[in-house]
């Protein structure tokens, strides 16, 4: 699908960048005139995907995380989070609620939350090569809103 607007942000897998990624996604989405609830959905979903890249993709080193934000036809926001980390051996299992390979500090609910806050979620991964998570959400056009 053709992008009407697009931006790419590359940052290192430091946990301080979780808040940075949320702010970037919210700012980019502002052109869609989202409601506060929609902004909260966007921030929550991107936070989960970026946290996974930071926690799971690079368990014992710093790596590169790429966040690509696109505005698609039909008032859709696409957020893609890409890492070049360890990859996911079994994507279906990883997406199962409560499944985690993490410590006590994880809940295993990240993918479940991304799914419920976005309209669509696609996960591609290759062990040893990395993971790409792509999410889409349609932002309702609001009556009277000039675009």
């Amino acid at each position: 699908m053709k992008a009407i607007d697009q931006t790419t942000i590359v940052f290192s897998s430091r946990s301080a960048n979780e808040g940075f990624a949320r702010a970037c996604a919210a700012c980019f989405a502002a052109q869609l005139d989202p409601t506060l609830d929609e902004v909260a959905d966007i921030k929550t979903a991107v936070s989960e995907a970026v946290t996974n890249a930071i926690v799971h993709a690079y368990p014992d080193r710093l790596g590169r995380v790429t966040l690509r934000l696109r505005l698609l036809e039909g008032n859709q926001l696409e957020m893609q989070v890409k890492d070049a980390g360890v990859g996911i051996p079994d994507i279906e299992q990883a997406r199962t609620p409560l499944f985690t390979t993490g410590s006590e500090e994880r809940s295993g609910m990240g993918f479940t939350i991304m799914e419920s806050f976005m309209d669509a979620l696609k996960v591609r991964s290759e062990p040893g090569k990395g993971t790409t998570v792509t999410m889409r959400k349609r932002i309702a056009r609001r009556a009277g809103g000039a675009r």
């Binding site: 301080a16 909260a40 929550t44 989960e48 500090e105 994880r106 809940s107 609910m109 939350i113 806050f117």
Partner: protein
């Protein structure tokens, strides 16, 4: 990441504030654990009114508090949950395990 403890005769209320993500969760878990261990409440209320953002890392924080309270033989409830945090907890079905008010 600030937490505020207030004691009542029948228990304690701990207010969590700020953004609860993976970046801040570890420090918050440690603070919360210390606060519970030093007040030893029979009934613990976690007040989330000051939480401006929470993702699934916050679920782990609440689950840790629940386990600690269970070990003490006490109870946990979570109150004043802002809408964004509420939707995260609902999506994860946390209400089946923890009393959310």
């Amino acid at each position: 990441m600030p937490i505020t403890v207030s004691r009542q005769p029948e228990g304690a209320t701990i207010a969590l504030a700020g953004e609860i993500d993976h970046h801040g969760a570890r420090a918050m878990m440690a603070q919360l654990e210390d606060a519970i261990a030093s007040t030893l409440p029979l009934r613990l209320t976690l007040d989330l009114s000051g939480v401006t953002f929470m993702d699934s890392s916050g679920i782990a924080v609440l689950m840790r508090a629940l386990r600690q309270m269970q070990q003490l033989g006490g109870s946990l409830r979570v109150t004043a949950i802002p809408l964004q945090a509420r939707r995260v907890l609902d999506a994860a079905g946390v209400g089946r395990l923890i009393t959310l008010e």
